[in-house]
């Protein structure tokens, strides 16, 4: 099992816009470099990319939830 961490403090978003589907749904597989969400820091948006390959992603953080740097965003197998 591996954890995907937020590189920055801010607000976590699971989709590129409110009317868009999430980058990853619970249970999806991820590959290194895949975008799993966005973190908004002071009105600027930063993509969060997976640093490991994994299966069955489970998000530990809700859409629009505040996160600190190093917070666990999701886990993968």
């Amino acid at each position: 099992m591996a954890q995907l961490l937020s590189p920055l403090p801010g607000t976590f978003y699971r989709a590129s816009a409110p009317d868009q589907p999430p980058f990853k749904a619970d249970g999806d597989a991820v590959a290194v470099g895949d975008v799993i969400g966005l973190v908004e820091v002071m009105k600027s948006f930063h993509e969060v990319r997976a640093e490991v390959d994994g299966a069955n992603i489970r998000f530990a953080c809700d859409n629009e939830e505040p996160v600190m740097a190093g917070a666990v965003l999701a886990e993968v197998d």
Partner: protein, 458 residues
Amino acid sequence: MLKKLLVANRGEIAVRVIRAAQDLGIATVAVYSEADRDSLHVQIADEAVLIGPPAARKSYLDQAAILRAAEETGADSIHPGYGFLAENAAFAEACATAGLVFVGPSAEAIRTMGDKVAARSAAHAAGVPVVPGSMGRVADIEAARLVLQETGFPVMIKAAAGGGGRGIRIASDLAGFETAFPQAAAEALAAFGDGGLYMERVIGKARHIEVQVLGDGRDAVHCWERECSLQRRRQKVWEEAPSRALSDRVRDELCQSAVRLARAVGYSGAGTVEYLYDDEADRFYFIEMNTRIQVEHPVTEMITGVDLVAEGLRIAGGEPLRLRQSAIEARGHAIEVRLNAEDPSRDFAPFPGTVTGLRVPGGPGVRFESMLYAGYTVPPFYDSLLAKLVVHAETREAAIARLVRALRETRIDGLRTTRPLFLALAEDASVQAGAVHTRWLEGWLETHAARLLPELEP
């Protein structure tokens, strides 16, 4: 006079509004999100109400939560500050429905000035020069070809329903125009569900000059102009007053035109009419009106001695304009710079964190508008403005010297800020000569940004 004011904002502007209200003997209510429990505005207000989680949409933009806080505390009025719910006509109406005074213009004035086409028509009707182009939407490509006689090339084709730079195409000749116009219409329809277009001449090198107005719904006066040509990504970083680019005759015409527009829309409170000024043609053109107090309002306060926030509160409380135009004199020169939590050497990357130490500049002609204190943690959820450093002196040269002196005094330990940008700009020959335009700073940054070394103080 207002008795109890709820300030529906955070950061330095909430602090500024609370101070003005307290100076007038008005009780104050702060509202705050869970991320702002330790904020200065919460500490200095007479009362404070938690309105929701950190996300602005669930707190500072939650109209129902704010109206509930006003009801619970018995506030009789709401000041929106800038951003968030300022310039939101529906919120102004909701305040009125709830029996609260909204500190600002009427919902109708907000709505008219918030609609690009309506604002342009209102300006034209008030005899305010607008950028040559179509009066409102163009019906079709044949009507658009006639508008080209007004605009010439290059011409900007804009989606009437667009905004923030979206839905804009520029054509530099007729062939390009014939291709771009139908594409722009199709795009606007797809993106905004509204294929309506309007057209404007592209003004090449221009300055951003704006006029501060105060109105009481019947009459209006101006408090002279500010120049804000130093911008990055359409965000102002350095503002000053007066503009040295204007002759006395043009300055007078500019300021009078803003007063005409404010009167025409029955403007109430503090507002700003924004223009582009074309140096070569010595002409100014209306861009838009901001129906709220602006970030850079202290520049005007420094040269006129008028407390714009206090005047806005008095007007909202039912007093007529106290100031006669002839009594509003501009003295000396003022400059404001925006100290943001951003690293200018790394493409202005945001830098939230804890202020481990703070040294505030002082002395004659120096004003530091901020919510910072030593030990305060700047949350990552809102904008990056930490402080506005405002200086005033007899001349522009003396103001720049005072700005450098005050910047050297300033220390915000623990964060990276835009301070190095302003030290470098103050030493630049073009800035010293005032030879700048709205796209000047972005070009300058391409060659200078890497040298704006971060100074992460211990």
